[in-house]
């Protein structure tokens, strides 16, 4: 059975490492914060100026002056810090943030990502995405394997305007976990109950399939 959004978030949480600072994009990535393994410590960075972002506030305790980059009311963890946008992106650009998780409309087998603009449609802007993908050492894309029309989002090359080039290192979709290297998607794991054939069929770009493709372990 393909993963739902929560399943994707749970699988991404397995990629977290102790001591990492992590920036989570809007949507599925935000859910990752709920599934941090109990034996590790990570801190969440929000590019509008938080390190050590905590969960949503309790009802009635929300503060208009304390939001995340998705403009949602949030809280601070003990040890948190606040800073301006220039300092925030100094952290990002200077590679002090170890991991960025974000959504995408398309990813190419060379690691290019497109997630901000569809020609002819209203363009809302790239926000911090271009800075994030240009800098982070580890970039995980969280997305559905195919779009609403059933077309693959893992392509030989992106058709949409790019957000960044050669930057995505890992993709977690509803069907699979994949690594990008040497100009190809490398299949790492299958979603529970999903066959290699299904993944092959849903992947338009070059897919390297090892002899053994383990099934994801999702609690």
């Amino acid at each position: 059975m393909a993963l739902d959004k929560v399943g994707i978030a749970k699988r991404i949480a397995q990629e977290l490492r102790d001591g990492w600072y992590v920036n989570l994009g809007i949507g599925i990535p935000t859910l990752v914060a709920n599934f941090v393994p109990q034996d590790i410590t990570v801190e969440f960075q929000s590019e509008n100026g938080i390190l050590g972002m905590g969960p949503f506030p309790f009802d009635g305790e929300e503060d208009a002056d304390l939001i995340n980059a998705g403009k949602q009311t949030v809280t601070l963890m003990p040890g948190a810090s606040i800073f301006d946008s220039a300092t925030s992106f100094a952290m990002i650009r200077g590679q002090h943030v170890q991991l960025t998780v974000l959504g995408a409309m398309e990813v190419s087998q060379d690691g290019d990502i497109a997630n901000w603009k569809i020609p002819g449609r209203m363009v809302k802007g790239m926000g911090g995405a271009m800075d994030l993908v240009a800098s982070a050492e580890n970039i995980i894309v969280a997305m559905m394997h195919t779009n609403k029309k059933g077309e693959s989002k893992l392509l030989p090359s992106c058709s949409l305007p790019l957000t960044g080039v050669g930057c995505v290192t890992r993709i977690i979709t509803n069907l699979a976990a994949l690594e990008i290297k040497n100009g190809a998607f490398h299949l790492l794991e299958r979603a529970p109950g999903v066959s290699v054939e299904e993944i092959k069929a849903a992947t338009a770009g070059e897919l390297v399939v090892p002899e053994n493709v383990p099934e994801m372990k999702i609690d």
């Binding site: 650009r93 802007g125 957000t163």
Partner: protein, 234 residues
């Protein structure tokens, strides 16, 4: 005695803002925006302005109020969703929009205030943002040359300020305000609480008064929440 920057209110503070000017406005979403000065600019009906601001407000609040009255000619932002009137004006061609990666926007404002006319950044390389910009490799990685941004007026909102123009921001209402304060030819600060010089700890000031030319205590802050997200106790 420190140099006194106090003006009576939004009306005096915004004196000199004219049609066609370039303005920077602090804030991220509706968080930390200069509500009083925006209201005043709606009232004075200044038009043809170029707004450098990370976002464009929502339909009926923030910069959306200026958009409603078609006072804005051009937006320079990183993200402009959540605003139907914005979308309408943009798609009809009434409104020019210059989209800039958020980190480059922040750094370009800081550079403008810091006398750094240009700097290299990896953000946007290989994308349409890089079109027409110089590309240079450093440490094996391509970077693009970005230029400084300045404004005729920068308008920021702080939590506390003193008569000398020193500012302290609260939580994430800080965002773009400190860099924009640096980059305005004239910088206006509206604050929730204006105190006498000497009342703020010199060690905890976010924006030194040198960057602020006019300061006043604002009134009636709505501080609207754009995405109210909460969890339940228990």
């Amino acid at each position: 005695m420190a140099i006194n920057k106090v003006v009576a209110g939004a009306q005096e503070a915004t004196t000199g803002i004219e049609d066609g000017m370039t303005l920077m406005l602090g804030g991220f979403g509706l968080c930390g925006i200069p509500e009083n000065c925006i209201a005043e600019m709606v009232k004075m009906n200044v038009t043809g302005i170029t707004c450098i601001s990370n976002n464009a407000g929502v339909d009926d609040f923030g910069l959306g109020l200026l958009l409603q009255k078609k006072q804005i000619k051009k937006m320079v932002s990183s993200y402009v969703g959540e605003n139907d009137e914005f979308e309408r004006q943009m798609l009809s061609g009434e409104l020019e929009v210059d989209l800039i990666p958020q980190g480059s926007l922040a750094e370009r404002c800081r550079a403008g205030g810091a006398g750094i006319p240009a700097f290299f950044t990896p953000a946007g390389y290989g994308t349409e943002i890089a079109e027409g910009k110089e590309v240079r490799e450093f440490n094996g990685k391509p970077h693009i040359l970005e230029s400084a941004l300045t404004a005729d007026f920068a308008i920021v909102k702080a939590w506390k300020g003193d008569t000398a123009g020193n500012l302290v921001f609260k939580a994430t209402a800080r965002n773009f305000n400190p860099m924009m304060a640096m980059a305005g030819k004239i910088t206006i600060a509206e604050v929730e609480e204006l105190v006498e010089e000497g009342e703020l700890d010199p060690n905890t000031i976010h924006t030194p008064g040198i960057f602020v030319q006019r300061i006043f205590q604002g009134t009636g802050y709505e501080k609207r929440i754009e995405q109210r997200t909460v969890r339940q106790k228990g």
